[in-house]
């Protein structure tokens, strides 16, 4: 009891108020690019803007919408039935498929795209036949459509695991009883799937689907490889052409699309929370006959083959063929840069996440919850927006005397800040969940025994949530490691990462040489991904 007899809770709050600022810091960093982009986007954008509106805006917008829509739809077609097959049925190879279907997450879209770009070329004889058989107009239409087919296919085949994982989680928890009931009432497997499984998984499909749509809207590498120009590459192009205000206006539009998407997902989910008792009924898998097993394989294998096996196989072959031409020193340098950046950024991100979450142990107040929510915002912010926002902040700072060392061309400060903004949420979620599971009683007990709040946090809470922090750090590590567009525009001079090196060589049509760095990226992501697949699943719920 304090000697002056004042209320201990009040004393605690007043004592921690100055620290509130430190706690808010990570959230403010996330907010910064948003404020900058909104502020600068509202300034007059010069004569470039009307010209962009007239010549490009419409195209960017409809391309973004068509892309996000079709990729999401196709990812659902890939993901939902596959999840249903591996959770509800027992057939030879099921266990293998169950985890293998996550593999495409380790295959960044722009790396997979490399393995398909030459497909456009090898289909030329077919196009020529279309021209001779159906005439010039049909040929030209096919030419317009072909890059879309490839881009949508590659994106859906590498992103569908988000849908697959979220649906699998729901089916595992909830489907057993319902499905038995439906079967007993005489419904066939197709009917059970359409009438029972899909409606049941709707919130999960919406959750996974919205992640897919976000990634599709954020994509830069795949769409540029196939010559499409939705908003994200459009923003970067305007930015590099030297029209920052116009780029920011486009970035605001993209952000509006993202917000719309999050709203759509919330609406889809509505009040349909997961209702059944989790984990009470172990899924009783229905054993399939030969025909059923073949059908299950035909449903599960295509996305896996398209999104992982074909690109991995082709790249491995190219890397082998190009082994004499490969610049091994450059490759090692790039790998070192990638690892260092990803490690540094994920440490910073973890510190930020722990600060935001642990603060709630030390003090109370509605502003802390708000700060945490702000931290989660970053994942819905388009990479292009974060890049132009952070880029502007850093160049403004670097222009001041004495701050030249910050300049984008010399230091990775801006890049690391951009990673922080965009991927804080990735680590915040597992860390938050870790703290939520932890009983507050332990912390209270330590306090009762005389430990200061900080001491209790460091000695009691942190060691217990350590695994969650580590998991969050690994997730952030993988995301940073694979990141392309922000790295392209914000990296220091003459500084390659595996991602930028793959992209550069692909852009120069030196595909066999691009396979080396691409493959290395996939391999390192895999090492982190496999133990984490269950964690991603939790993040989706």
């Amino acid at each position: 009891m304090p000697p002056d007899g004042s209320d201990p809770v009040r004393r605690q709050r007043s004592r921690w108020r100055p620290a509130l600022l430190a706690v808010w810091l990570p959230a403010l960093v996330v907010l910064l690019p948003v404020l900058v982009v909104v502020w600068r986007g509202l300034q007059p954008a010069g004569e470039a803007w009307p010209q962009i509106v007239e010549a490009r805006l419409g195209g960017h917008l409809w391309q973004s919408l068509v892309l996000a829509g079709s990729v999401t739809l196709l990812a659902m077609v890939f993901g939902v039935p596959a999840a249903w097959q591996v959770t509800m049925h027992e057939f030879p190879g099921r266990r293998l498929l169950e985890w293998a279907l996550v593999l495409p997450l380790a295959m960044p879209g722009f790396v997979a795209a490399m393995a398909y770009v030459d497909g456009l070329e090898s289909l030329i004889p077919l196009y020529v036949r279309v021209r001779t058989a159906f005439g010039l107009e049909a040929f030209l239409r096919v030419q317009q459509i072909a890059p879309w087919v490839f881009a949508i296919g590659v994106l859906a085949a590498t992103l569908f695991p988000y849908v697959y994982l979220s649906c699998r989680a729901v089916f595992e928890r909830e489907a057993a009883g319902t499905m038995e009931a439906a079967r007993t009432l005489g419904a066939g497997p197709a009917r059970v799937f359409l009438r029972v499984a899909v409606p049941m998984a709707r919130p999960a499909i919406a959750a996974g689907g919205s992640l897919v749509a976000m990634e599709a809207l954020n994509d830069y590498g795949v769409v540029t490889a196939f010559g499409l120009s939705p908003l994200t590459p459009g923003i970067f192009r305007v930015w590099t052409e030297g029209h920052p205000e116009a780029a920011m206006r486009l970035a605001l539009m993209l952000t509006a699309l993202m917000v719309l998407l999050v709203g759509l997902e919330n609406w889809q989910r509505g009040r349909r929370r997961f209702a059944a008792d989790p984990g009470d009924i172990p899924p009783a898998r229905h054993r399939l006959g030969a025909a059923g097993a073949a059908r299950a394989w035909m449903i599960c294998a295509p996305p896996l083959v398209l999104g992982f096996l074909i690109p991995a196989w082709r790249m491995a072959r190219w890397a082998w063929q190009a082994r004499d031409r490969t610049d091994w020193r450059g490759l090692l340098d790039a790998a070192g840069n990638s690892l260092l950046l990803a490690a540094g950024a994920s440490v910073l991100i973890s510190l930020g996440a722990v600060t935001l979450v642990a603060a709630r142990r030390l003090a109370t107040g509605p502003s802390l919850a708000a700060a945490q929510r702000l931290g989660l915002l970053g994942y819905a912010l388009p990479g292009a927006m974060v890049a132009v926002g952070i880029g502007t902040v850093v160049s403004t700072l670097a222009a001041r005397p004495g701050f030249g060392f910050l300049a984008l061309s010399v230091s990775a400060t801006g890049l690391v800040a951009a990673y922080f903004v965009r991927f804080l949420a990735v680590s915040l979620q597992p860390v938050g969940a870790g703290f939520d599971r932890l009983s507050a009683g332990l912390h209270e007990a330590a306090r009762t025994l005389g430990a200061s709040p900080t001491r209790a946090l460091v000695r009691i809470d942190l060691p217990l949530v350590w695994p969650a922090v580590l998991a969050g750090a690994t997730l952030a590590f993988i995301d940073v490691f694979k990141e392309l567009p922000m790295t392209l525009v914000l990296r220091p001079f003459d500084f390659q990462t595996l991602a930028t090196e793959t992209y550069r060589l692909t852009g120069e049509s030196r595909i066999p040489e691009a396979a080396g760095p691409g493959l290395l990226m996939v391999a390192i992501s895999l090492v982190g991904l496999i133990p984490l697949s269950h964690l991603i699943r939790r993040r989706l719920q």
Partner: protein, 347 residues
């Protein structure tokens, strides 16, 4: 506790290592070195630099980036810039660099005699050391001699669905458009770009090499490409690429008029260079017969003085008339060109 502390200390040192990527280049200005900011990163450049170091003992340190970024960085660094030499593959960019005060004139007889007068800066701020022409390549079996002669023909309606070209975001196309603007005027250049965009067999994708290969495979009948890409395909290690190039025929456009649009690999000494003598030696080396032969054969670019005997392939292509009239205007017309390309709907 000790564990957590060591983690914290370790992580902070990682963070500081990442945030402050060591620059390393700025301070070490050892006696015999030349710092080059270059847009070029071809294999032949490394051979050139090794050769230069072998002959002079001067080490070449290269920073690679896009030309616009290099110019931006030179501006930002000002006097403290470590760069001695700027190299780009676009005369327009060199003209801009000079206008921004980033280069210094170099008076050297070796240089003035080593590059053609029309393709160098009048006051010696930069010199061309290799030339590339943007030409038409036609499918030899489907396009008759004389069926297409000029850039202007690409916009004619009979070529609908038969033309391939890479994206308009490429500086090669922007430079070509700039030359069209200065030759035809804005209105006719816009109409030309519209016609070209309407004639494309597919939306632009890939690089110059991809256009050539796609033409050879039958997707279209004519494409625009830089000469050295064609040369590199002809000499490719991949037999399929050699076969593809073999199906194409090269046409130097506008020979009856202003000549073929060319661009240059060009070098200039930076305004605040610390190793001016080494920089000058490097520039002079680039136009030396030995370097020129390497550039012509390794990179398939035309030698600065168009001595076609250096490379048998180029000798076979034959001499051609170069469009020198629009060349000097390129930098000035580029912003206009980008605007018109956009308006024309050339993606």
């Amino acid at each position: 506790m000790g564990f957590i502390r060591s983690i914290c200390v370790g992580s902070l040192s990682v963070v500081s290592a990442v945030v402050l990527v060591p620059d390393g280049r700025g301070l070490a200005s050892a006696a015999e070195v030349v710092h080059v900011y270059s847009h070029r990163h071809y294999g032949v450049d490394e051979q050139l630099n090794t050769l230069f170091t072998g002959k002079t003992g001067i080490e070449v340190k290269v920073v690679n980036a896009e030309a616009d970024q290099l110019i931006e960085r030179l501006q930002a660094e000002g006097e403290s810039s470590p760069a001695d030499v700027l190299i780009t593959v676009d005369a327009g960019r060199m003209q801009r660099a000079r206008k921004e005060g980033l280069l210094q004139p170099v008076m050297s007889e070796v240089l003035t005699r080593g590059t053609p007068a029309e393709l160098q800066d009048a006051d010696g701020y930069w010199y061309a050391y290799a030339i590339r022409a943007r030409v038409l390549l036609v499918a030899a079996d489907r396009v008759k001699a004389g069926e297409i002669r000029d850039y202007e023909d690409l916009a004619r309606p009979e070529w609908r669905g038969r033309v391939l070209v890479r994206s308009s975001s490429s500086s090669y196309n922007q430079a070509l458009m700039a030359s069209m603007v200065s030759a035809l005027g804005e209105k006719r250049a816009l109409a030309w770009a519209r016609g070209l965009a309407a004639n494309l067999a597919r939306p632009p994708q890939g690089g110059d090499r991809d256009q050539i290969k796609a033409c050879a495979a039958g997707l279209a009948d004519v494409c625009l490409a830089n000469t050295y890409y064609y040369g590199l395909l002809l000499h490719s290690a991949d037999p399929a690429e050699r076969a593809a190039a073999g199906k194409m025929r090269l046409i130097f456009p506008n020979q009856g008029g202003r000549g073929t649009h060319v661009n240059v690999s060009a070098a200039g000494v930076t305004r605040h260079a610390r190793n001016v003598a080494n920089a000058r030696a490097y520039l002079e080396f680039l136009v030396s017969p030995e370097a020129q032969k390497l550039l012509a054969n390794g990179g398939q670019e035309f030698p600065a003085l168009m001595d076609l005997t250096l490379n048998p392939t180029q000798e076979k292509w034959g001499a051609f008339k170069v469009d020198t009239a629009t060349f000097r205007q390129m930098g000035e017309d580029q912003p206009k060109a980008v605007r018109l390309i956009d308006a024309a709907g050339w993606k």
